[in-house]
Assembly symmetry: C4
Homo-oligomer: 211 residues x 4
């Protein structure tokens, strides 16, 4: 089996975890109980009251999607694997597998006076994923250098500084959310939206980015 095949297997295992973690999120959407004697308007209001769950679902699904796209493009930079990398990738997957849990906490408490704790917890989870990405990135360099020789140092550095920026952003939103949870969660959402937009624009502008 060639290293090419091994990379493919790492990718498809990771993809399966991404797909399952994303799909399990729907289990958090609970069917509301419609008591007898509700008017049609009341029933729709009941459905609409599930907005914290819908919002949390959208946010976490979007996050997993972003991670999937980035994981995908990062893997394309490699030409071999090491056992350290396999375990670092496993640790990254572990943090992604966890997403449904802070999502459920967020959905349950964003609309209560415990919103601050819920947002801090969610933001910490985003921070953890970013840290796992840093470990993953480190495992591409040590003990064996797994990156294709033709990938420029500038590109590698560019990705690394993006990762550190992510760490910085989530430390900031975590701290901020202790006092201003609404601003905190809006920022977390905005970062996701900004990331998708930038990522689409960049890709279409600089075709040569792909290796």
């Amino acid at each position: 089996m060639t290293d090419k095949n091994e990379l493919t297997r790492v990718e498809s295992f990771s993809d399966a975890v991404f797909a399952i973690a994303g799909t399990l999120l729907v289990l958090e959407l609970k069917v509301p109980i419609f008591e007898s004697g509700l008017s049609r308007g009341d029933v729709w209001k009941k459905l609409a009251e599930g907005w914290p769950s819908y919002l949390a679902f959208l946010l976490s699904f979007g996050t997993i999607l972003i991670i999937w796209v980035n994981h995908h493009f990062a893997i394309r930079l490699l030409n071999k694997i090491s056992k350290s990398f396999l375990y670092a990738n496993g640790f990254l997957l572990l943090t992604i597998t966890l997403i449904p849990f802070p999502t459920a906490v967020l959905a349950k408490y964003i609309d209560t006076k415990y919103a601050s704790t819920a947002v801090v917890f969610y933001s910490l989870a985003c921070l953890l994923i970013n840290l796992a990405f840093l470990v993953w990135w480190a495992a591409m360099h040590r003990p064996v250098y797994l990156i294709k020789p033709e990938v420029t140092k500038a590109r590698v550095k560019g990705i690394l500084s993006q990762l550190w920026m992510g760490v910085g952003i989530y430390i900031f939103t975590t701290l901020l959310s202790f006092w201003f949870p609404v601003i905190g969660i809006v920022l977390v959402i905005a970062v996701d939206i900004l990331w998708i937009t930038m990522s689409i624009l960049e890709r279409e502008m600089k075709k040569e980015v792909s290796v």
Copy 2:
């Protein structure tokens, strides 16, 4: 990694989401409680009383199957990907991941006086998926044209008009279901059955369709 491989990865990630969303539907089938002192006939009646869940399961599984087949044949028309397409595909997957939720609402309330809301909600979900397919289709054209040059304009237009027809149908069933939920859900089911039948016949008649 070639664009061919990238398409394969998009396909297999999508397939995983389809497979999980379809399989999670079974979690909505709840084992009925048989109190002591039931006759054999009562017990079977209890099992039969789960028909709204069985119906909703069949309908949603059928829908996911149709989406899978169509997604599969549409992907075959492409010869490359763009980041916009990746995110549009992700949005499409998001709407499919959601299916278990309106399915559960339908199963719980189709047999109650809230049937109208349940069917409207389900029909809206079908509409959302169709709209996501339109976005997905648009992302195949812009900003980068991803479709193989040998695919005729007529074929591309044919698919597009099918998508718009789907949007029209689900707007109609949604509106109708506010007043006539039973007719609404029967129509939604009929559209699925019709679609499968037409799709099988068309394929066997016009072999040259496949690219």
Copy 3:
């Protein structure tokens, strides 16, 4: 995309459904409640009291495994696909996706006076899967003949008669279980064990079976 690739995609989609249906079975194993004041022996007895769930898990996982192996070897006989086959395969997957539901019914009631209904229900599910296999098999022949020309008529007939035998067996166990549920479920289990044993022996004896 070649027909070879299409077969691969059908296989991997089916595999994902098999894997998920098998893995979801574990969700039926509920952690027992240990009230305070139990002795160590009582606690282990509580765990052991979950035997109907463990048995149902083993049986259904074994069944899915057998289906996976047979699906796998049948797909190897094909050299192309048709839309009818895709939908017939989808219907087969639907019946497999359902397995966790009769499994849960069996686990809950095998040890009660409703055992008969539970076993009949489970046996009916096995029958349904076998019928779906017959439809699937038919779709390999019509409207397009998908089987490789080098596969002998004798081999095709052999598989078909195995399928009909399966249908016969499960009709028998279903009817029998109305009156003798314990014998019924023992037969269902025995058929699975026999099947695995025969399948291993046959394969090792007649190497030329593989195409």
Copy 4:
């Protein structure tokens, strides 16, 4: 279809089961209930009180990861499959699919006076997986020898003695945990950590290990 392809299919089916079993673990993490009138400190304490669940999640995810890596490297030693091997692999997957159950038992009772039973139960599950690995390993040798001729006898023996060592360790931790559950679970965790560390070091030191 070549034996190469068959091995790939076995791998990807197994991977799907590993990925799902790992991801389902998150469903055991329950959102705590925050009653009204809790201070911020209380709320965080409530979240922290979930530590047995977090620990059990980490441990089981780590275990699945180790199994995935080892399964992966063992499959690389093969150049064909047999039906016996397919069923032995299925039995191995069955034991892995079960992991969420002892994990849930461990999470629920590690912090109670029933800790001993919970750890023994978990340790037994690890033992079962190791025994399934032995069966799997045996099925690589009999009735058909599936291992590539270029794999040295020494390497095959090395893996076998590792498996027996694992059996020995888990028999020991199981027995020990009847009286000293805390030491038992610490040992189980330590074995996992040690295994990952050794595996990373070995791989990086003896490059020639990979076949």
